[in-house]
């Protein structure tokens, strides 16, 4: 099979699996699990085959045009280059792991069939986004992901939190999607095509008329999808969904789509220095803010959610300094270890019976209860904190190296301010990342108190998947010397300055947290088993703890800025409808109602009255007819 055929099959198979899952889910429950796992697994294998076939060679472009549109044509185009094929492999692998894990995690869930079908559809949409070479087709996948995330986050729709979170995720991402759509149209109007290769070629040839406007419009959509400040608020709330969904959304799909789109359209952003600075500032605020917030969260999954936001900040930071190779490198390594962290956290929550870190810190022996999750999550946290030799170290150093390169003026066309912003905020965020990773590990696995309750043993599917994801988490960094051949050719190996600086800062962050934890646990164990007092985050953040735990009250700001005015407008519209429009309608009905009341009096029920009226009418008609016929009446 040619790379084109396999690449077409990759998004198609999960889509067909999803359709079959929706159709057969209720009638043939026995087919649901194979239909969920096998198409995704086949897609992952085919994605790997495609990646091997395309390899480090030139990009493959195929397009067919189904129908003329009259203006800018829309093609069903495939664009297979190193970025696309490698991310597709990541999506396939993570989605397969999530599907296998879900067979164990949601084995008693009555809505598992529709859940599995939606996950397949989600995967298919993401693969479409990754492979397509046309912005309109990309937008289709982009929006399908939006609606799938709405359904999946709201999987437990019996709870108020899940309903609110799914609605919030949908609305906030839509808030970004509207400018994104306008950005695509403006881009197509400037360049005359929706094909990404055509757009990039046109920019290289004649540039853009409004580069800053287009870049900022596109950026809004990216910020919504990739959960960047100020549209990141949906992501922590999206934790109301099942844990495997969080793994899928956070690691490989959805949030990765925004970063991927910027990577594909990087020349558009590079054409505007202002857009790059905005991107850099956005990344900086996201990285530092999410790091602080993660340090204060009590829910394991919310810690991980904020850490996803922060790691996405690294990726956008790498894009802001014009190095998409580093961004995609970090995207892939983050995808692997974040999927592992979420799936491991799922196992952990399953074992502890709670989401709360302070509750976990009051149990001992959680690490013995779930040894697989313990070891894999430990390594994944080390990767998250960028400790060598795990994957996160290499990819984060690639980002920091690119930022340093740009800051010292080594990159042409990239403002030095963007480089410095990303470099400094990246280093601060490295400190915070190491801090919250250490805090998570200490609170979850080094708790003191009564033995953790013994729940049923973990299903094999859930354990095996953790070890599958463990391999890239631990070893993906070793591919760093080979990846530039797949990407733009810029070196991704860590440079000495940033690695020493980054690793040193990460170690300092981890050690400070550990020291604080030692300091707080020692008296706490003596006096009382007060879990909150053992939280090193509370001591480290000091007065910042409360605002950080509430996500810096951004939700309250949004409530004041958007929710209240919209509600007030709804009240106004209701008043106009009920009191103003309805008054006219009711007044128009009054006349006929009176007429009806008058006519109703004639209906006495006495047949003889009716007959009398009939006779009188007939007589009148007859007299009239006679008068007309004789002509005297005229």
């Amino acid at each position: 099979m040619t790379p084109t055929t396999t690449a077409v099959l990759v998004p198609l198979l999960p889509f067909l699996g999803a359709v079959a899952g929706f159709l057969l889910g209720r009638r043939a429950p026995g087919f649901v699990r194979p239909l969920a796992v096998l198409p995704t697994l086949a897609a992952a294998v085919l994605a790997a085959v495609t990646a091997a076939a395309v390899g480090t060679g030139p990009a493959t472009d195929v397009a067919t045009r189904l129908t003329p549109t009259g203006s800018v044509p829309i093609d069903l185009a495939l664009h297979l280059d190193g970025f696309a094929v490698l991310i597709a492999v990541l999506v396939g692998v993570v989605a397969t792991c999530v599907q296998i894990y879900s067979t164990g995690y949601l084995r008693d869930d009555p809505r598992y069939p529709s859940y599995a079908a939606l996950v397949s559809l989600f995967t298919s949409a993401m693969l479409l986004v990754v492979y397509t070479g046309d912005l309109m087709v990309l937008l289709v996948g982009w929006e399908v992901m939006g609606i799938c995330s709405y359904f999946l986050v709201g999987h437990y729709w019996e709870t108020e939190a899940a309903r609110a979170a799914s609605l919030k995720a949908f609305l906030v991402t839509k808030l970004g999607d509207v400018p994104f759509l306008f950005g695509i149209f403006a881009l197509a109007a400037d360049t005359g095509t929706f094909r990404i290769t055509g757009i990039v070629g046109s920019i290289a040839r004649d540039g853009l008329d409004h580069p800053t406007l287009i870049a900022l419009l596109l950026l809004a959509g990216v910020a919504g999808k990739s959960a960047q400040f100020p549209l990141h608020t949906w992501l922590p709330d999206a934790m109301a969904g099942p844990t495997p969904v969080s793994a899928l959304i956070h690691a490989a799909t959805m949030v990765a789509a925004g970063v991927y789109v910027v990577a594909r359209l990087l020349p558009v952003f590079a054409a505007s220095a202002a857009a790059l600075v905005v991107l850099a500032v956005m990344a900086a605020v996201t990285m530092i803010g999410s790091g602080l917030a993660a340090l204060a969260q009590d829910d394991v999954k919310r810690v991980l959610a904020y850490s996803t936001i922060g790691q996405l900040g690294y990726m956008t930071g790498a894009l802001a300094v014009g190095d998409r190779g580093a961004a995609v490198f970090h995207l892939i390594s983050h995808g692997a270890f974040k999927a592992l962290l979420f799936l491991g956290a799922g196992a952990l929550i399953h074992a502890a019976g709670t989401n709360s870190l302070s509750a976990m810190s009051r149990m001992s022996g959680l690490d013995r209860r779930v040894p697989d999750a313990y070891w894999t999550v430990t390594v994944a946290l080390l990767a998250l904190a960028a400790i060598p030799p795990f994957s996160g170290f290499f990819s984060k150093e690639a980002v920091l190296g690119a930022a340093e390169h740009a800051a010292t003026g080594g990159a042409a066309g990239i403002p030095g301010a963007a480089g410095w912003t990303v470099l400094i905020s990246g280093l601060i965020a490295a400190l915070l990342t190491a801090g919250y990773a250490t805090r998570l590990w200490l609170l979850a696995f080094r708790g003191s108190g009564p033995e953790a309750p013994d729940h049923s043993p973990q299903p094999l599917a859930m354990k095996a998947v953790l070890w599958v994801l463990f391999v890239p988490t631990a070893a993906f960094g070793l591919t760093a010397p080979f990846l530039p051949d797949w990407f733009d050719g810029r070196s991704l190996t860590p440079t000495l300055t940033t690695s020493v600086l980054g690793t040193g800062i990460a170690l300092v962050g981890g050690l400070i947290t550990y020291a604080t934890w030692r300091h707080t646990t020692a008296p706490a164990t003596r006096t009382a088993a007060d879990g909150a007092a053992t939280d090193p985050g509370r001591v480290l953040l000091g007065p910042l703890y409360r605002p950080a735990a509430a996500g810096f009250h951004l939700d309250a700001v949004y409530t004041t800025l958007f929710v209240r005015p919209v509600r007030a407008a709804a009240v106004l519209v209701r008043f106009l409808d009920r009191e103003v429009v309805d008054t006219y309608v009711r007044a128009a009905g009054t006349g006929p109602r009176w007429l009806g009341a008058a006519v109703r009096r004639a209906q006495t029920g006495n047949v003889q009255t009716y007959l009398g009226a009939l006779l009188a009418g007939a007589l009148v008609l007859a007299v009239a007819a006679v008068l007309v016929a004789t002509g005297t009446g005229a």
């Binding site: 009806g596 009341a597 109703r600 209906q603 006495t604 029920g605 006495n606 047949v607 003889q608 007959l611 009398g612 006779l615």
Partner: protein
């Protein structure tokens, strides 16, 4: 015989029938009045048939037809009257007012649902 005699007679008969239909209160008498009106028409048909010297005698044929229909009609009518009398205990046409549109009936859909009397009566039993 001049045409005017049967015509006047038919008109008188018809008017008598009409008065009966509109004014009598007993259903049987109303039915009888209907028969009077039908026979007034029959008389007209026969008289004009004879006066026009119709070779096909369509008037006479139609008269026979009307008589047959009238017989069927009075049979059904009397049966209905009998049943009404058995059910209501009366054949007074002024009291058979089920077709009346009582005030408030069209608004019943928007008003409060009426409680069912028979279910209420059975509830304590």
């Amino acid at each position: 015989m001049h045409l005017v005699y049967p015509a006047v007679l038919a008109a008188l008969l018809f008017c008598t029938g009409l008065y009966g239909v509109l004014a009598r209160r007993n259903v049987i008498l109303v039915l009888m009045s209907v028969e009077l009106m039908l026979n007034a028409v029959n008389l007209n048909l026969v008289a004009f048939d004879a006066w026009l010297r119709d070779t096909l005698h369509a008037g006479q044929a139609l008269t026979l037809f009307t008589i047959a229909v009238a017989a069927a009609e009075i049979g059904i009518g009397l049966a209905i009257v009998l049943l009404v009398h058995r059910h209501r205990g009366t054949s007074d046409i002024d009291r058979l007012r089920d077709l009346a549109d009582t005030p408030g009936t069209p608004d019943a859909a928007t008003a409060e649902p009426q409680p069912q009397p028979d279910t209420k009566a059975e509830a304590p039993a």
